[in-house]
Symmetry: C2
Subunit: 448 residues, 2 copies
């Protein structure tokens, strides 16, 4: 089988670009409009995307999260359960926090989503990196970065144990004899760790995928370690081919070092595409959205992306970005924003105009062929197994990609022309996870 590009669609109903809600095409209430999300899901499925992806913050991000239109939205798992009924092949990758949720609850809701969708669920594992979120969960200040990542690793481990509570063939359900299940195939987690004590079993049965697909986006040293050990899909943000390649090779090497098959960790950088039938048309689309940015939203965005401590009151927006001390928030993103400002020699205004569309993800303005060229180059040169597409505004930014770029990728043999499987795991080419308890029994029997 020829290797194909994998595609996620990152589609917050409020739009990615901080001014997208002002665009005539996008419903101003998109963030809380369920019917609009149905439309987006169907459009992504028409484009044969692998999955619909949503981030999640556990606090009103305001403009730092993508503009005022994204101050309020849906809880992603609840939303995706509803959207799953409106689609048949599209996967759904929802973000949930290892810091502010309990593994038993996490395991349940994703197993339920997997059951409801017939095997199309993914969990984007995040540690949640804002002070605002901490203050919504009984804390005055958030836990240190290293603590969050240690808890995350254990949280994922407990969830995976719980997803193995029921072996695939546990249920007998013989009405005649009354024999419902084989109790030897029901397993307790008996987990006792530094952060969690969880007995199990889960009270949701093993779902069609066995385990929903594990997704991560960590880029710091701690983040890379967690991702290499546990992730099956990694979203990542890069501004340059060389740093993307460095990240790609590093993760694959780490995975190999941990005894994992590197083909079972898909690296998917984010790409924010302004696509036109010509480059000029794409440029017009970019300029139009840029012209809709309010200065206060731009300032707030830069503050949010640099860790939340920067005060730009009275600053010259046409001067350079001042130094900012790093915080316990999203460390890699803080460094990336600084890199964008420095390498491009951007003023504060130029910086917020550039990151307004995707907050540090790669932004490309071009014809369908130019966008496809970029995707092909990254895909064929060890920088990416696929991409998480962030259409700057909706639904048109997505429709443009589906109508213009997807056919170009298909012509080049780089993208599917029909879904390969029924589950997200099958479409992504990821293996079905063998139940750990069944595996242990097989191993024990083989050794006898």
């Amino acid at each position: 089988m020829t290797r194909k590009i994998r595609l996620g669609a990152f589609l917050p109903g409020g739009g990615q670009h901080i001014a997208s809600w002002r665009h005539p095409d996008q419903p101003a209430d998109g963030a809380v409009n369920f019917d609009f999300h149905v439309q987006l899901a169907r459009e992504a499925e028409r484009g044969l995307f692998d999955a619909y992806f949503l981030a999640d913050g556990l606090a009103t991000g305001g403009t730092s999260e993508g503009g005022p239109a994204r101050i309020a939205g849906f809880e992603p798992v609840t939303l995706f359960a509803a959207l799953a009924t409106q689609t048949t092949h599209l996967g759904f990758i929802a973000t949930a926090s290892t810091t502010y949720e309990e593994p038993y609850n996490t395991a349940r809701k994703f197993a339920s989503l997997d059951l409801i969708s017939g095997g199309r669920a993914g969990w984007n594992v995040v540690t949640t990196a804002t002070e605002a979120a901490a203050r919504n969960f009984n804390l005055d200040t958030q836990h240190p970065h290293a603590f969050r990542y240690a808890r995350a690793a254990e949280h994922v481990e407990v969830v995976r144990k719980l997803w193995d509570s029921f072996e695939d063939d546990i249920f007998i359900r013989d009405k005649e004899t009354g024999n419902f299940l084989d109790r030897t195939k029901l397993h307790f987690a008996h987990h006792k760790g530094a952060h969690f004590k969880v007995e199990g079993p889960l009270n949701v049965s093993r779902s069609p995928q066995g385990h929903p697909v594990i997704v991560q986006a960590g880029q710091s040293e701690d983040g890379r370690g967690l991702a290499a050990a546990t992730a099956e899909v990694i979203f990542t943000a890069h501004q340059r081919l060389d740093t993307a390649q460095e990240f790609y090779r590093d993760i694959k090497a780490r995975a190999r070092g941990l005894g994992r098959d590197p083909d079972h960790i898909l690296i998917m950088p984010g790409v924010s595409p302004f696509v036109g039938r010509t480059e000029d048309e794409a440029r017009e689309k970019y300029d139009r959205l840029t012209s809709l940015i309010l200065e206060e939203d731009g300032i707030s965005l830069v503050k949010g992306l640099t860790g939340g401590t920067l005060d730009l009151t009275g600053a010259d927006l046409d001067g350079p970005l001042p130094p900012v001390a790093p915080t316990e928030g999203m460390k890699s993103r803080q460094a990336l924003i600084r890199q964008i400002a420095d390498e491009n020699g951007f003023t504060i205004r130029q910086l917020y105009q550039w990151v307004a569309s995707a907050r540090g993800h790669y932004t490309i303005v071009g014809s369908a062929a130019q966008v496809a060229d970029m995707l092909e180059e990254w895909f064929t040169s060890e920088a990416a197994d696929g991409f998480n597409i962030l259409p700057p505004w909706l639904p048109t930014g997505l429709t443009d990609f589906v109508d213009l770029v997807i056919p170009e990728l298909q012509r080049r043999g780089l993208f599917r022309t029909a879904y390969e499987g029924r589950t997200l795991r099958q479409n992504l080419g990821l293996p079905f996870p063998v139940n750990r308890y069944a595996a242990a029994r097989s191993a024990a029997q083989a050794a006898e």
Copy 2:
């Protein structure tokens, strides 16, 4: 407007009766069969029920929760989000725990469900009363009953504050000026209490109902206090008209004493109906299900309902129920089971046969007219504002009720012939909750 009976439908896909999965009509995999739940929701909507209700336990209940078929199911909010898309009027009341969830997460998922369903969400507030659940959430033993109820009261209060984060008219969404919202109408909870510290605001906007409907089932002294203070619907379990009346009057009096309108607290006892075209036919249905009970499931049920500590190994099942020391679990249910055993002079076997259908809820075996007589008597004599119907097996137990009892209630003018409103709140005749911050501002302005 004439007072009408309100009806909930309590429909676990695995069935209520512990042997229901063995009935030929019920899919043996009902508990984890999404399509079957869609069928049940549509059937309940055909019967003009107010709401689909689901309990939730945060542990594999095994037989104590209703038989082996209910050892694993769906997380209710995730399931209901999906079912909401398959229905247009039916409400969805999901159970969520105040002990093992955080208020910020609770507020989000129910507000999301309310947005997705267009205003049909309800939250059944429970403290979760099993040792097994405690062991899934980092505890060796569960918190004392009084602690759980104190935390529950504060949890509900925080959730309600968060649901008021956005005033109803906060969003301006003027694309021309870029004015998205009126920031004076965005509110922080700034909550600091004994159990929670939550700053807010919520990151889900105020939903169609303002607040999803608050439901409770507490019957102990602590439970009654919490319910009278905060509940809008109360599910309750009674074996006799007189205890139901005592409970009804007590709750209404407590509510009045707290300055609440007693008509805004609907008391809905559980009823498990075996309905036939004749009493004999109903009795046949009852006997058939009873004959399917396995002894070990019956013993396990009695153990679970009496607090989980009773060891019946080697006991004479045709002798009386031995004494059981009360536990920190569901106190009122333990007392109710003892009452059923004592008042009926039941042996252990007779006890489990009787409670097999509804674990202590009122069970009635009769013709449609007999069932309607009972509902009418309770409804017109200060024992009930409505009922939570627990069909013993599915879908037929529900279909029987819809086809036989509903028309009888309609003929008597006791039940609706069409949905009155678009939201659960409207159908139940409950008021729209005024936003506390808007109310405070109005009061301040009036005082000037």
